[in-house]
Symmetry: C2
Subunit: 515 residues, 2 copies
C-alpha cells in the first residue's frame, strides 16, 4: 500500500438539506475525515473557493485531492470522479542537467522520463559563477526564473511523452544540491560559498506549485529533499534513501560524483558525510573533450598492450563526439597500464606511438581521428585535461581516506560501496582503482546505483516513510567540512600519483617504479 | 498568561560555525522549539526568505514572530528585538457598520477603537441586494474589494489613533455574519439565501493577511470566527464566547439584533439557536427617521402621561438627528402607554395631540420640531415606520417563543437574557416588554452585553481556549431553521398586537381592551 504525497479519495457526502445546514467545505471535510487516519484536513486559502465550488458542482460526490504535507492532510481540489491516473513528477535538479520521471502515484509505475540541460547555464556553467550572478540586481530573480522555466519545460516533455496534461501533474518532489534548491526557492545563496558555508535553509517546509509559478497543477505539493549543509544537498539524502544506507547493519559507503564528489559512510547507527571538488574533470563540459554521458560519448576505452591499438564503445553505438567521465577514466588507466603516461600523469613521449602529437598547447593524445568522429573533429586528450583528472582522482581518494579515518573504519570493513550518478552508471571500478581513485577492493564490493537522486525523489512521491526518513537523515548525518581540513590537504598531496605515493595501498595495480 | 494568536518570542541562537553548519532557518527553528510547547514551527513559503534574511541580519538573536494557527506554530517574521507592543486588530464585520479595536496582545489592553460604515453599501444596503450583485460579472470581486478597502481604512484609523503603523498590526480576528465572511473571503454567497441555505464554508481555516491583500502586516494571521449556518454567523459565536453562555450550568439566552435577530438558548450541556428578520426596523438607515446609535441619535424618549410633553436624550447630548433602535422602541412604547397608538400599532387621531400631523403618506408623529433638530428637519415617526417596528417586534417575540418551546424551556426558567449589539447597549428592556417584544420577566434577568461580536473577537486574539471553544461551538449548536417553520409563522401572527394577542402573557403591561 503506497502512501503518496497526494491522494485521490472517493467521497460521497450526504446532500445538504434544511435539516443539515453544514457548509459545503465543512461537509466535505466531515465526509473525508473517517478516511484520513492522519488528521483533520485543512484547506489553504488559495484553494478554498475552488474546492467548495467543485464539490458542489459535482453533486457532493466524487474524489477529494489531498496532499500529505508532513503528516497534515491538505485538501486542495475536488473532481467529479476518481482520476484514471494520479501522477507526480520526481525531479533531479542538477547543476548542469535536470532529469525527471512521471510516476503513477497509485502504483508507483514510471510513466515517462525526460531530461534537459539546466537553463541557468547561460548565467554560468558552474554554481560559483551563478552565486556571484545572484548578487547582481535581478540576478537571483533571473536564475530563479531560468530554473523554474527549465522545470516547466521538463514537465511539458513528460506531458508530451505520457499524454497527460501538465496540469494533471499533481505532486512534485525535488532532489537537488543546496545551491540549486536556493535558486529554485528564490532565496539568497550568498553564504553558501562563504565560510562557514551556511545555507539559508536546509529543510524547507513544503509549499504548493502555484506559489513557485510552476506550470504543473497549482495545488501540487512541492516536496524538497532536505540538505545537510551547503555542500551536501538533498540529492545525497535522496541517494541515501535509494541505497538504504541508513537502514543496514553493515557499514557501507555511498559515492556520488557530480559537480562535486559527495561521500557518505555509515550504517543504521551512524552516518558521516563530506563533500569536495573531485568532480569537475569527470563532468561533461569541463574537460575539453569531456561530455555528458549521452549518445556519442565514449564510455569505455581499451588499449591493446601489445599493438597499442585503441578500441572504444560509445553510448548509443554511434560515432564518437567526446569522452564522458567513465571513458576518461578508462582511457587514462589504459594509458598508464601501457606506460604512455607516468605515475605523475604526464605523457611519456618516449613510450607513446604516433597518436601523441604536439598541439599548440603541448602534447595531445588522439583517441579518435577526425575521419572517424561524429563531427569530423578528432577526439583528443591533452595534458591540461589529464592534469585536471589527476586532481580529481586525488581529491576523491583523499576524501575517502579522510572520511573513513575520521570514524576509524578501514576500507576493508566496508560491506558495500554504492556508486551513484552518471559516474556510477558507466564507470568501471577496476579502472578507477588502477588510477588510485577508488580503494583497491574486491570489485564485488562496488555497486552502481544509477541516478539515485532521482530514485530517491521517486520514493518521496510514493512513501510517507521515505519523507519522514529524509528529515531524520538531516539530524542523523554528521557533516565533515573538508574546506578547512588539514588532514584532507595532506592526503590530497599524497594521492597525486598513479595509483598513490604509497603504492602498497594498491596491491592489485602494477607499479612502475622510477621512469 | 495570555495565549495570543501571534507571539513575539525572544531567541538567542548559537552562531553558525564550521562545526555547526545548520541552515539559518533550521537554526532558528531549533532555538525556538524549546519555547514552543505546542509543536515544531513551520514556515510558509511566502515568508521563507524574509525570516531567514532577517534572522541573519539581526545576528541570530532577537524576536521570532510566531502565529498560533489552530495549534500549529507558524514562524512568519524575525525582529532584532522584542517589539515594544505586539498589536492585533479585533473586527466586528457588520453589514452596515464595521467596528474594531486594536489590542495589545501581551496585556489584553485595548489601545484604540474605531468604526466605519461598510463600504459595500454602495452596492446595496442589505445583504440580499449584495448577494444578487455578487452574481453579476465582477460583482463578487467588487464587493470583496469594497470590504477589504473598508477594513484597510479602519486599520488606518486604528493606526492613526494608536500611533502604531498599519504594518505593526500583526493579527486580525474577524467576527461577522456568514454573508459578510463570504464577501471578505471572496467566495460565492449564491446559496446563502436559497433553500436549503448552505454556506460555502462555515469554519474556514485561517490564512495570512497578505493573501487577502489586507494592508496590515502581510504575515498577520487572519482568524475568522466560524459560523453555524447561513443565518447564524461568527458574530453570534463571538457573542456566545463573550457572554459565556456555553460554560454556565443555568440555562441562559443571548439575543443579538442587527440586520437579523439572532437568538441562542442553552447552557454548558446544550445550545440551540435560530435567526430571523426581526432586525430591520431597529437598524439605522432602514426606518425613515432611523439611524445608527451614534452622536445625535435619540436613544431614549419619555412622554408625560398627563401633559403629553415629550422629553428625550440624544447620544452625545447634541441636537437630535433621528431615532436609533432604542429610541424608536421607547417612543412607540410611550405612545402606546399614553394611548396615542392602539394595540395594533395604529395612530389614534382621536387621542393624539397636535404632534400628530397629516403628511403626504398618512399620519406622522412629530418627535422633534425642525427648529430644535440638528439639521432643521423635524424628526418624525410615520405609520410606515410604525408598521415595520410592529413586524420586527412580532418576529422577535415569535422567534423567542418558538425557540424556547422547541426545547421545552419556559421563559421563567431563563437565568439570564444577554442582550447584545447596538440594540442591547441602549435599549430599555422595560419598554421592549411593554411592546411585547421581549418576555415579561424581572428586569434583573436582562443584561446588556454591548457589542459582543467585537468582544468575542478580542478574546479570540488573546486566548487560545477561546479559539478552540469557537470551533467546538459550531459542532455543539443545533440550528433551528425558521424560514420554513410553521410554528413560527403562527406565533408571528399572534404577536402582532401590543403587547400580544394573549395579553395574559404580559401581566405587567397595561392592556387597553377594545378601542
Amino acid at each position: 500500500m503506497l502512501t503518496p504525497l497526494v491522494r485521490a479519495i472517493a467521497v460521497a457526502a450526504p446532500l445538504p438539506s434544511l435539516g443539515d445546514n453544514t457548509g459545503d467545505l465543512d461537509r466535505l471535510k466531515k465526509a473525508l475525515a473517517p478516511q484520513l487516519s492522519w488528521g483533520m484536513p485543512v484547506v489553504p486559502y488559495q484553494r478554498l473557493g475552488k474546492v467548495a465550488e467543485r464539490f458542489r458542482a459535482a453533486g457532493f460526490t466524487g474524489a477529494a485531492i489531498v496532499n500529505d504535507m508532513l503528516g497534515t492532510p491538505v485538501l486542495v481540489d475536488f473532481l467529479p470522479q476518481l482520476p484514471p491516473v494520479l501522477a507526480g513528477m520526481a525531479l533531479d535538479l542538477g547543476t548542469t542537467h535536470l532529469e525527471a520521471t512521471l510516476v503513477d502515484l497509485t502504483t508507483g509505475a514510471v510513466l515517462a522520463r525526460a531530461d534537459l540541460e539546466n537553463g541557468q547555464i547561460r548565467y554560468g556553467a558552474d554554481i560559483l559563477t551563478r552565486i556571484h550572478h545572484a548578487a547582481k540586481d535581478e540576478g537571483l530573480a533571473e536564475l530563479h526564473r531560468a530554473i523554474i522555466g527549465s522545470v516547466n519545460d521538463l514537465a511539458l516533455e513528460l506531458s508530451r511523452v505520457s499524454g497527460l496534461a501538465r496540469a494533471e501533474i499533481r505532486a512534485l518532489s525535488v532532489s537537488g544540491n543546496t545551491s540549486m534548491v536556493h535558486f529554485f526557492l528564490n532565496i539568497n545563496p550568498h553564504h553558501l560559498c562563504r565560510e562557514p558555508y551556511i545555507p539559508m535553509v536546509n529543510a524547507p517546509d513544503p509549499c504548493l506549485a502555484g506559489e513557485l509559478k510552476l506550470a504543473i497543477h497549482p495545488a501540487a505539493p512541492v516536496w524538497l529533499l532536505p540538505s545537510v549543509g551547503s555542500y551536501f544537498g538533498g540529492d545525497l539524502i535522496s541517494g541515501v534513501l535509494a541505497s538504504g544506507l541508513d537502514q543496514q547493519a553493515e557499514t557501507c559507503m555511498l559515492i556520488d560524483v557530480g559537480t562535486n564528489a559527495e561521500v557518505i559512510v555509515g550504517n543504521r547507527e551512524w552516518l558521516i558525510a563530506c563533500a569536495g571538488a573531485a568532480g569537475p574533470a569527470l563532468e561533461g563540459g569541463v574537460a575539453r573533450m569531456g561530455m555528458r554521458a549521452g549518445p556519442g560519448a565514449i564510455e569505455h576505452v581499451q588499449i591493446d598492450p601489445d599493438s597499442g591499438e585503441i578500441s572504444y564503445q560509445t553510448i548509443g553505438k554511434g560515432k564518437p563526439k567526446g569522452l564522458c567521465g567513465s571513458g576518461l577514466i578508462d582511457l587514462v588507466a589504459e594509458l598508464y597500464l601501457t606506460r604512455q603516461i607516468d605515475i605523475r600523469g604526464k605523457f611519456r613521449p618516449q613510450a607513446a606511438g604516433d597518436r601523441l602529437i604536439q598541439g599548440s598547447e603541448g602534447y595531445q593524445f588522439v583517441v579518435v581521428e577526425g575521419k572517424n568522429s561524429a563531427d569530423g573533429q578528432p577526439v583528443v586528450l591533452d595534458q591540461v585535461d589529464l592534469d585536471a583528472l589527476m586532481r580529481s582522482k586525488a581529491a576523491m581518494y583523499a576524501i575517502l581516506t579522510t572520511l573513513t579515518n575520521q570514524v576509524g573504519v578501514a576500507f576493508a570493513d566496508l560491506h558495500r560501496i554504492y556508486v551513484a550518478g552518471a559516474f556510477g552508471r558507466h564507470i568501471s571500478p577496476r579502472q578507477a582503482i588502477v588510477l588510485g581513485m577508488l580503494p583497491d577492493l574486491d570489485l564485488a564490493v562496488y555497486e552502481p546505483v544509477g541516478n539515485s537522486s532521482l530514485v530517491g525523489a521517486q520514493r518521496i512521491l510514493i512513501e510517507r516513510a521515505a519523507r519522514e526518513r529524509s528529515l531524520e537523515l538531516v539530524r542523523k548525518i554528521t557533516y565533515l567540512e573538508l574546506n578547512v581540513n588539514q588532514e584532507f590537504m595532506l592526503r590530497f598531496s599524497g594521492s597525486r600519483f598513479i595509483p598513490h605515493t604509497d603504492h602498497t595501498l594498491f596491491p592489485s595495480v602494477p607499479f612502475f617504479d622510477g621512469d
